[in-house]
Structure formats: structure tokens, C-alpha cells
Amino acid sequence: MVYRGPYRIRAEEKDRPAVEHPNDAIVRVTKAAICGSDLHLYHGMMPDTRVGTTFGHEFVGVVDEVGPSVRNLKVGDRVMVPFNIFCGTCYFCARGLYSNCHNVNPNATAVGGIYGYSHTSGGYDGGQAEYVRVPLADVGPSLIPDWMDEDDAVLLTDALATGYFGAQLGDIVEGDVVVVFGAGPVGLYAAKSAWLMGAGRVIVIDHLDYRLAKAAEFAHAETLNFTEYDDIVVQVKKLTDHLGADVAIDAVGAEADGNLLQHVTAAKLKLQGGSPVALNWAIDSVRKGGTISVMGAYGPLFSAVKFGDAMNKGLTLRMNQCPVKRQWPRLFEHIRNGYLKPSDIVTHRIPLEHIAEGYHIFSAKLDGCIKPLIIPS
């Protein structure tokens, strides 16, 4: 797929990517996914998204070629590739902050390297394609275990790892009331993960009933449709004996479809890095002294966040892009134990040549779409 402008993409024949660095691998993609954060790019909200680039940071595939210095992979290996591109040894990687790697993104120091996520994230093409360049192949990819389903593997490359990470950032302790904003894939996984960490109550908030139904069924959560309430913050307060939640997780990011004014200033005029409606609701709904976890995606532009409330309430705000590979050993165990079955949320399988339709369905939330997978021909 290639980007042609806001709301416009198409399937197009491009040159097969080449080895550009001795530690590159070329991976033939067997399955990719469209992620909620791809919609920031699709809507033209991420600065330095150039026409002709390919999106897609969630993919698995087979190693097709390796550069001269690659030691840990060989042609034919089935691999899952974390969405972060990282070196493993810079100051940040050495401390496990793989999503904050300093050696892979010349375009920015505040953002790490991400496949198919504009030049702000390093100018790499993504995996919604037949082939993709995987830099630093000795560090990023892992072999897909024999017992693991390929659909589960592709969801581990971002969505599941990020959702689990969101729950971790909430610093949940036994019995905590956890409220999750957003019932997309990441919100569903965050809600499910909150139980693993001992939450006493999990409430998921969204505006689409079919996604809330999934949250109730898949993540055992209580659900609230915010369009049914005059003021969702008051509703959360009422449900929590007017205390507020202990932990609030923002699994929406800047894509929150705020009021028309916010939509125009953020999505259309680019005066904000996205409307932070969900984040502001999180700040308002959590109790004083509570914790806010943010792993919904925000762009580098400023956003109108209610920082004064966060300060006055003594909140702890924790946030980052997920360092995916550090999550894997534990998540593999949880999947093996049957605690998590990530592919239960997949709703659509779209051939790569119909990618424009796939984005439209996902962006407009037609047809009960929760998570679409892309199948290259």
C-alpha cells in the first residue's frame, strides 16, 4: 500500500526493498494488521508523512534475505517483528527503553524508530506490503514459536503488548478500580491485562456498542457508552462511590473524536497534536492521588491537556510507547496458559490489494470492525 494523501491510499507495485545496512534483513510478509494509530497517518495528522510511503508496523513473515553481518537469523526463518526499530545498546536500549532508541531515527530525538510511521519515526517503510526491510535484524525480530498461531503472533507485535503495557503503567495493586478509555484492540487487551495484575473492578468506556459488547465478553469488563450520559466523568464518580477510579488508562490517544471544534483544530487545521478528550476524561475520572497510564498514540504537536487538574489532584502520569520485545517472554507464557487468546478480537481479513477499502472500513468503523488483518497475495 502507498499513501497518497489524507484519507487516500492505494495498492501499488513498488521496488522490493534492498539491504541498506549490513544488519538488515528483508522479510516476506505473511500477515500484517491495521492499527488504530495508523489512522493518525491515514488522516494526515502525523507531521512528515510523505506521499508514496507504506504504512504498517504490525506484521509477521519469513526471512527472505539477510545482510552480511546478520548472525541470529537465516533465510526461511518465520519471524515476528516488534513495531519498534531499536539498536539494543544505546543509552536507552541498554536500560530496556527500546521504544526510545536513540540510534535509529535521525528525524527526531523525541520519537524512536517505527515501521511505516512517517519520517517523524525514522522514514522506514512498513509491513502492509509483500516485502519489508527489517533493520538491526539481530535485535528486533524473534522466531515465532512452533506452538503459536500466526494470528496471535501478529497481534503480539503491537496491540497485545501495548495493551498489557498500558495496564502495567497503571501500577495496579490488588483490588484497584481500573477504568479504560477506548474499547479498540489496545483497550480490550489493557482491560483483560488489568485482571492479570489483580484489578478488583474493570470498567471500559467507548461510544460504539459493538466494541463494548466485546469488552464485556472478551475482557469481562463492565461497560459504559459515553454517548448515553450527559457527563461521563460524573457517571464514573457515581459508580465509584464518588471516589473516582484508582487507575485510568487512556487507550485512545489523539484519535479521540472530540467535539467539532477540537476535530477542526486538531485533525483538520493541525493546531493541536490531536484532541486529547480521552486523556482529559481520564484525568477527571481518576481519584486524587491516582495513576494515569497513557499508551494511546499522540503526535509531536502540542495538545490541550488539563494539566492543572492533574497537578492539583496529585496524579501520577505514566506513559510511553511499548518496548514490545521486553513483553514477549511473559506474554508467551500467558498465551500458553490460556489466560490470553489475542486473535479472539480479529474481525476482518483483507487482501492487500483491497487495502483502501480496509482502511475505510476500519476508519469509519463500518461492519462491526474491531481488528483487521491484511493478507498479502
Binding site: T109, L260, E357, Y359
Partner: protein
């Protein structure tokens, strides 16, 4: 009740939750959650065998944030800056740090110029842009546009009125440019 010292009681006890929810409490101990950024120094976990990766050759001049000391050893090579949008991008990178709004706003301007220019150029290529197929709207016919509107709320309802303008803008611009060029050519010929 926040007005008294004790936490409100939950409807379900931990034991009840454990019985109801598979895996409840498997990661109960906050100290045993491996990937929370605790900044533990462990440079070997990743599988890297270098201290600093080999430098990727810079085949074409690569723009970079002025907050970087040098070009990072690994970088993406897709879509080097080109044309007017490229000039704006290079200026944004050369002149402003990431801390400056001007940096990002110039990049957004460059994005819009890039889209308009690419749309114009595509008209003269073998693969002209097609606003219908590229927006994926044909999927409306096959993927429940009506029930998605009635059962639920689609997410694009609020901005649907704006979308045609966003999508059409580059074409309108392209038509304008073509008109001006054509007029010039005709005048010159006359």
C-alpha cells in the same frame, strides 16, 4: 466514600475474581512485571553484539533533527525530500529544533504541498490518482453502511461533511494549476 477514611468495598472478593476470570492475579506482584520501564541496566538482553551499530552509508543527503549530534547509524531511506515540499522539509529540519512549533507546522505544510503536488503529477503519470478507489468508499456498498449507522454510531459521522473537501482539495488545486498552465501555453502559441 471519599468523605470517610476507608476504601469502598468491592462487589467481588479477590477469591471470587480468581474463580471467574482466567489468570486473575497471575501478575499480582508489581515488582514482577518485567517490561515496566524500570531502567535496569542490561545491555545484553536484546541480542545485540555491538556497542555501537555499524554506520549505514549515506547515499543521498539525509535530513536530521538538529538535536542529534550526528546522523544516526541506522535510518530509513524511503522518500527523500523532493520538490517544493522537500525544500520546506529541509528548511524545517535545518532551522528549528523539535521543541519549536514552527518545526512541526512547517512539516505539516510540506505534507499538504506534497499531496497537492503529487496529485498534479499523478495526472500526467500512468497511474493517475482516483479519489473514489483511494478513499475506499466502494466498501460502503458491501460492508453494512446503513446498519453501521443505525445500530451504532460510525466514527466518521461528525466529520463526513468536511471529508469531501479534504479529499477534493488537491484535485481542485490540480485543476487550477492545469488551467493556468494551459492558458499560458495557449497565449504563447497565439
Amino acid at each position: 466514600m471519599p468523605y470517610t477514611p476507608d476504601k469502598p468495598k468491592l462487589a467481588e472478593s479477590s477469591d471470587e475474581l480468581r474463580a471467574r476470570i482466567p489468570g486473575w492475579g497471575a501478575d499480582l506482584d508489581p515488582a514482577d512485571r518485567p517490561s515496566v520501564p524500570r531502567e535496569r541496566f542490561d545491555p545484553t538482553f536484546s541480542g545485540a553484539w555491538w556497542e555501537f551499530p555499524e554506520r549505514q552509508p549515506e547515499k543521498v543527503p539525509r535530513e536530521r533533527s538538529i538535536e542529534h549530534k550526528f546522523l544516526t547509524p541506522v535510518f530509513g531511506t524511503v522518500s527523500p525530500p523532493r520538490g517544493v515540499s522537500g525544500a520546506i522539509r529541509r528548511y524545517a529540519y535545518k532551522r528549528y529544533s523539535e521543541g519549536r512549533a514552527a518545526h512541526w507546522l512547517l512539516l505539516m505544510v510540506a505534507d499538504r504541498v506534497d499531496v497537492a503536488g503529487s496529485t498534479v503529477l499523478s495526472i500526467f503519470s500512468r497511474h493517475p490518482d482516483n479519489p473514489i478507489t483511494e478513499t475506499g468508499v466502494p466498501a460502503e456498498a458491501s460492508h453494512h453502511p446503513v446498519s453501521s449507522r443505525t445500530d451504532d454510531r460510525r466514527t466518521d459521522v461528525r466529520h463526513q461533511a468536511l471529508d469531501p473537501f479534504i479529499v477534493a482539495a488537491p484535485w481542485v488545486l490540480a485543476a487550477g494549476v492545469t488551467y493556468v498552465l494551459a492558458r499560458k501555453v495557449i497565449r504563447r502559441a497565439a
